[in-house]
Each structure stands twice: as structure tokens, then as C-alpha cells.
Amino acid sequence: MKGSRAEEKIMSGCAISGILNRKGNRFSGEEIIDSIALMHERSNGLGGGFAAYGIYPEFKEQYAIHMFYDDLDAKEEVEYFLNRHFNIAVAEKIPTREVDKISNPPIIWRYFAMPNEQKLSEFGLADDEYVAQSVMNINANYRGAFVVSSGKNMGVFKGVGYPEDIGDFYKLEEYEAYLWTAHGRFPTNTPGWWGGAHPFTLLDWSIVHNGEISSYGANKRYLEMFGYKCTMQTDTEAITYLFDLMLRKHKLSLESAVKAVAAPLWSEIERMEPKEKKIATAIRTIYGNALLNGPFSIILGHKDGFLALNDRIKLRPLVVAEDEERTYVASEESAIREICSEPEKVWTPRGGEPVIGLLEGREEVWA
């Protein structure tokens, strides 16, 4: 693929930001661009991106598949696959504008599609699992093709460049979402590859991530046992899959998933009430290889809201703020103040302490 995929693990520092309107009211991408742009110095122009939830109300029942292609051959091969396995309602180029600082983009395309009913029953899979496997199949086996996002009523817009330029490039001011997350990337070694920018996604899950996961090797091999193919040599991809595994496949509550990825210390578990202790012990025993170790702050986006989380000893920054309708989360407080000068509440979560922003009425997702 153009700029080629990394063959070794990518290390990076970053800026992240997210805005949720808890009432589900949608707003344009301008604010998230302003917020992430403020942290310009935390990126180096080698990657920027956005996840937006609620942007495709007219196709909200369809899987919105965003694709990068290196060339038309790749596009043709993937479309052949998609046509065989999906019923495609719409296939179109994602609108972009010429931006000076953005060069050499891939072919960027999107599809609104549903799994082919016949195939579904043939494999005996739920449609989300079918989509997930298809995504990993394309990413692993189709040279020159990359699935950027695959959820419903959401999409990811990313590329090589500073995030504000990427936002400009994708005309994000024209989209309206109730949840935006954004990422500015500072990789230390990577070639400029569009697929390598954040957010990473699977189905509805999107991750923006600042940090480096020292446990990546363990997490990756653990995921592989469940059929995940970590093809991008990045911990962010692995984090995405971990959440997919626990939340979607194992039906864990967000709270339990947090106890796995940012597990309480054994000394803390020791002090818990018996029932809580038993559960926490079981989670660490079973999901030990899901523990994310090393410095990170992440925002996990989802159709119901977001989870922001630091590593358990807080080695990366994360700030949260709230006003009447919205919850903000960012690497730096200034990035929040830039778009909400007088929040009602601002705080810095402790290491391992999850910050949950959910749409009103969706609180049961937590526990």
C-alpha cells in the first residue's frame, strides 16, 4: 500500500479530543477541529483524524464502510468482494477539497451496505460479526485496500497531515454529529501512511489514543486467539479489538471492560468488598492479557457515547469538562477552553478511572 504499512510496531505521541452532546443534538465538525488544532504542537503532521457519530441519519440502518484504496485495482478487487458479500445501497466517493498541505491521498470511498442475507445464514453469523470478519479479511488479505470505518451512522475521516488540515480536506464543517473525537499524531518512526492515522475502528467502535502500549505483544497474541487479525502493528488497533471482544462478543459491561484494560491493582482488589473482589479477581484472571500496560489516554467512541480512560498509573494527560449539554475530553484543558470557555465543571481523572459520557437514556451501557 502506498506509503506502505509498518512492519514493526509503531510508537507515537499524540493529542486527542472529544465532544459529546448528551442529548443527542448534532453539531458540525468545526468545533472539534478548533479543539484539536489548538494542540498543534502535540502532532507532527504525520497523521490526523476524526470519528463522527450521527452523521448518516438517512442511512442509519446501513453499515457505513469508509475505504482507502491505493489504486483502482485494489478498489476493483474489494468491490468484487463487497458485492458478493453485501447488498450495497450506495457506493460513492467521500467528498474532499484540495488542501495545500494534504498531498498524495489514496482513493477514498464509502459504501452503505448490509450483509448479504444468504451468506449470513450460510455462515451462521450475526450481521455485526459478519461485518467484523469481513473488515479483518479485507485489511489482512487485500493489498492496497484498507477499511477506515465500518459502523452504522458513523464514519472516520483521517489521513496524513495535521488534523486541522485533514478536517478541512474532508469538509467536516458540512457534517453534523452528536459525538466527535479527534486525533493529532506524533509518530516517531512511521512512514506517512493514511491507514495508520487515528481513529481506528471496528463496527461502531472507534479509538483515538495517545500513548504506547508496552503490553501490545501480549494483547495482540491474545486477540489472535479470538480470530482478530492485528495487521497494522499499532496498539490502537489492538485496543479497538479488545473493546470489541469484551463489549460486543463477551457482552461485558463497560465497567467490567475497564476493569480488564485498566485493571485495579491487586492491592486494591484485596481491599474490595467480597463480591466486588471476586468479580475483579475473575476479570484479571481471565482477561489478564487484555490489560493495557504502558502510558495511554484513549477515547473509545461508540454510538451510545464515549469512554475516556488513562492507564492505571496515569502516564499520559487527560482532562474532562462538562456543561449543560455537552461533555468534553482532551489531552489539554486549553483544547476544551478553546471551544467552551466557561465549562460548569473541569477535572482530571485519576489513573485507571474511567470517564463515561453517554447519551441520555443509554446509561445502562455502563454497568
Binding site: G13, S214, S215, G217, A218, K249, G294, P295
Partner: protein
């Protein structure tokens, strides 16, 4: 036979200016090497009987003793080395098989030494274990794929787990092959440290029942000392199929080591040879193994994990996979450098494969089959230091068994004469006057010191990697790089070469 064609292996040098004729060396040598000569009025030594166990050297209060390899050299010959010649002389004199103790000493590649560890620089911080929590806790036992709650939202109990505060256990060494004081040292150390020790095929001496929660009781082909109380006294049961030092052959505890206590514990007549058959005569197939695993689970009311220990041999990955499917909760793999109380030299030095390669292959295979997340993997067979442990865990092990290292901490100086029963350090012996040389309180403390030291080192290494919990190291082969390894070796180990 007349002339002994062998020359002394070691030469004892005594500095007469230092020697004070205190005769400590004489009192301490079970091989009766040292003696005070009344006529010469000085200490003298019988070099040919010396096994170089260093007991006398260590206890000599004036450091008057030095033991050297006999400098007499054979004519240079890369093929017919001195060692080869001596072995032939021994057999020509006795007609017996060559016996030996402890692990394989030959100069074959030690893969641990060709694997290097990673550390964090800049992009992720290393963690200082003196300031930050550093967790080494590990659970061994069968894990479900996912956490499960019942209809009332109550957590379903996990299958039985062994909780280890440090991913180290003391490997199987039977009472009989080692002394009761050695057993007590290990059992007490395991209890105090929150680890496990393993009874080996020696039954459980009554004094050791108190350490039951830290005991893995072994069931081997001789079934010595196995009864219901025994099975239920420990926290886990291990079926020993094979041993790294002597894959494919059984065990032999000579009758002179079967004293009253060993006899009672093993439930065999006093003075009789304890012969463990090469195979379990109720396991001729994987389905037989499954039956035994479930028989033991039945006997222990499904409250104890069952481990299956095998020697690392050529098709170890497939065997391990079969064992996992047969219902074992823990698989223990013993590499060809593993120790033994007694083994035929030719077997020990030529049968089996390195545990590093076996571990990598087994971990890979179990992952390919999706079984690794369910079954625990323990490796052994010459884990020599904390770095070996870190490498083993990164290659994919949950924990390690150490045995030789533990015995060394008790005083063993690797003379490899365990099979003679005359261990001057009170370890591999049943002679009361030698057994009491190992004070189990001192022994337990020394073992604990060793493990404490190792655990500090493991924490330092983990911290350097930017990891603060052991589970993030398990199977994390990105933390490893190879040097001086071929592409094939790197491929099997699943690691990159240094520089990549």
C-alpha cells in the same frame, strides 16, 4: 579387578601454612577423602574419592583448601575427549550403565543466552518498581474464554486456580531423591512466599501436610505414596508423564535410600528399590490420559487443577495440544537441561530438546488452536536466573518450575553425584548424619532470599519495559530479540533478530 584405569578427576591442594588440623574437612566429607595422619601429624587427602562438592572448601575456616581439576591431560583429540575415554574406562571396569545426576552439562546451545530483553526509552516511560506498584501475581488453572454470570447476575465460579505471588514454583523433587530437610526447606519457602512446590513421585511426608495449600502432589508411573488423602492434601495434582533429564525412561530409587520414613511415605517395603516404570501402565494413549485426568478430578471433587508434566521432545507441540484437549488445566514442559537425582548419562545428554524451543512451539500451537487462553503453561529445565524467567514468560509461559537453582540455594555445588546418596550438603541423601546438615529453617531462608532477589530483578526488568503487571509480559515476544540465531531458530522462537 586390579588396576583402576581412571585417574583422579580432582586434585586437592592444602596450604599447610593455613591448615590448623581442625579436621572440619574430615568430619564433613562423606566420601572420606580427608584424614588426619597421626604419623605425619598433618591432614592428608585421598584425591581419587573427591567429587568436588566443595563442602570441605566451604567449611574450611582458614581457606586452606583448593580443589582443582586434575591437570593431567589426554593427548589432544577433539573426537576422543578425555571424558569419552574415562567413561569407557568406567564401563570397562564395571559393566554398568553410566549414571549421573543433575542436568545436562554439555556445551549445546543455551537459547536463553541468545535472547535479549527490551527496555523503554523516551516514547514510553520505564517504571521504577521502588516507587510504583509492580505486580507479579499469576493464576494457574483452566480459564473460561470469557467471564460468565448466571441468570441472577451472580458471577459463575472459575475453575480452581493456583494463585502465585511470583511466577515461580519449585519443581518436582521427591522425598527419597532429596532429604526431608530439603523438602521442608522448599515447602516452607513456598508457603512463606506464596508459591507452590511439587512433591515429585515421593508421596507426602506427614510433616509436610501443613504446607498442603502450597503443595502440588504428583502422580507418576510408580504411584508411590498416592492415596486419597494425599491427592486431597495438596492444592493441585500433577500427572508426571515425563522428565526432561530422562524422557522415555522410568525412575529408580535404590533400596538403600528407602529408609523407614521414605518407606512409610511411599508405601513400599523398607529397603526395597522404588522402580517407576517408563510409561504409566494405564496411559497408552491420549484418551487414557484424559481418563486419568478426570479420575483425579473426580477424586478431588473438581476442586484442584490437574497438571500434566511432559518432557520436551520432538513433537512436543502436538502432544501439548492433545493434553490441553484432554482436560489438563496446566501443562508443564520440562526441557532437556532439566535436573534429576539419577539418570543414565547417555539419556540425559542426548534425549529431548531445549525448553526454549519447546515452549515457543507449544505456545504457538496452543494459540493457533485457541487453547492457550484456557490452559496454563509452565516450563522448567534449567531456569538459571531471573532473566531466564522473564524470557520464558515473554515467550509464553505462565510460570516456571525451578529445581536445580533452588537446590543450589540450599548449598548444592553441582557435583552431579546425587545418585550416590552421599550428598555432603544434606540435600540428595537419606543418611541421617548428612540430612541434618541442612537446617530447614536456614534452607527455607536461603531459598526465600533467592526468590526475593529474583522477584526484585524481575520487577526491575518489567519496569524497564514499561510494564507493571506480569500478564502484560506473558507471550509478549515483542520484548525479545535474538542474537546469533538462525532464521529458523528465530522463526521457531517467534522473535526478531536484534536490530530489527
Amino acid at each position: 579387578m586390579g588396576l583402576d584405569y581412571n585417574i583422579p578427576e580432582f586434585i586437592i591442594e592444602r596450604d599447610q601454612d593455613r591448615c590448623i588440623d581442625c579436621q572440619v574437612c574430615q568430619h564433613q566429607c562423606a566420601n572420606q577423602v580427608h584424614a588426619y595422619d597421626q604419623d605425619l601429624e598433618k591432614m592428608v587427602a585421598q584425591d581419587i574419592d573427591c567429587v568436588n562438592c566443595h563442602r570441605c572448601v566451604t567449611l574450611c575456616p582458614t581457606n586452606a583448601l583448593i580443589i582443582r581439576e586434575n591437570p593431567s591431560e589426554y593427548k589432544k583429540n577433539k573426537n576422543w575427549t578425555g571424558n569419552m575415554i574415562e567413561n569407557i574406562q568406567k564401563q570397562a571396569a564395571t559393566g554398568g550403565i553410566l549414571l549421573t545426576g543433575m542436568g545436562n552439562p554439555t556445551a549445546k546451545k543455551i537459547y536463553w543466552d541468545h535472547i535479549l530483553l527490551n527496555a523503554s526509552q523516551v516514547t514510553n516511560p520505564s517504571i521504577d518498581p521502588l516507587r510504583e506498584p509492580m505486580e507479579l501475581k499469576t493464576f494457574l488453572g483452566r480459564k473460561p474464554d470469557q467471564i460468565e454470570f448466571d441468570d441472577n447476575g451472580e458471577l459463575k465460579d472459575l475453575p480452581p486456580q493456583l494463585e502465585l505471588d511470583i511466577p515461580i514454583m519449585f519443581g518436582a523433587m521427591s522425598f527419597g531423591s532429596i532429604s526431608i530437610n530439603a523438602c521442608k526447606s522448599l515447602a516452607k519457602a513456598a508457603s512463606d512466599l506464596g508459591l507452590m512446590y511439587n512433591t515429585g513421585e515421593g508421596g507426602l511426608h506427614q510433616d509436610l501436610y501443613q504446607y498442603g495449600q502450597r503443595t502440588i502432589v504428583q502422580v507418576a508411573s510408580g504411584r508411590f505414596g498416592v492415596h486419597n488423602e494425599y491427592l486431597n492434601a495438596g492444592a493441585a495434582v500433577e500427572i508426571k508423564v515425563g522428565q526432561g533429564a530422562k524422557p522415555g525412561i522410568g525412575g529408580h530409587l535404590p533400596g538403600e535410600k528407602v529408609g523407614a520414613e521414605v518407606s512409610k511415605t511411599r508405601m513400599i517395603p523398607k529397603g526395597s528399590d522404588a522402580l517407576s516404570p517408563a510409561p504409566h501402565h494405564d496411559i497408552y494413549s491420549i484418551e487414557d490420559l484424559r481418563q486419568l485426568i478426570y479420575a483425579l478430578k473426580e477424586a478431588t471433587d473438581y476442586k484442584k487443577p490437574v497438571s500434566v508434566k511432559i518432557a520436551a521432545v520432538h513433537n512436543v507441540a502436538a502432544i501439548a495440544s492433545g493434553i490441553a484437549s484432554a482436560g489438563a488445566d496446566i501443562i508443564a514442559i520440562d526441557g532437556y537441561r532439566g535436573g534429576t537425582g539419577a539418570a543414565p548419562t547417555m539419556i540425559r545428554d542426548n534425549v529431548g530438546i531445549p525448553v526454549e524451543l519447546a515452549l515457543a512451539a507449544v505456545d504457538d500451537r496452543l494459540r493457533q488452536e485457541g487453547l492457550r487462553k484456557n490452559v496454563s503453561l509452565v516450563v522448567s529445565g534449567s531456569i538459571r536466573n531471573s532473566a531466564d524467567i522473564v524470557k520464558a514468560v515473554a515467550l509464553g509461559a505462565d510460570a516456571v518450575y525451578i529445581a536445580s537453582a533452588a537446590l543450589i540455594s540450599l548449598g548444592c555445588h553441582m557435583c552431579q553425584k546425587c545418585y550416590t546418596g552421599k550428598c555432603n550438603w544434606g540435600i540428595a541423601t537419606q543418611r541421617p548424619e548428612l540430612v541434618k546438615r541442612l537446617n530447614p529453617e536456614v534452607g527455607a531462608q536461603r531459598v526465600k532470599n533467592l526468590i526475593t532477589g529474583w522477584s526484585h530483578e524481575i520487577k526491575e526488568i518489567l519496569g524497564g519495559m514499561g510494564i507493571n503487571a506480569l500478564e502484560s509480559l506473558r507471550g509478549n515476544r515483542l520484548m525479545l530479540r535474538g542474537i546469533d540465531l538462525t532464521e529458523k531458530e528465530l522463526e521457531i522462537l517467534g522473535i526478531k533478530h536484534a536490530g530489527k
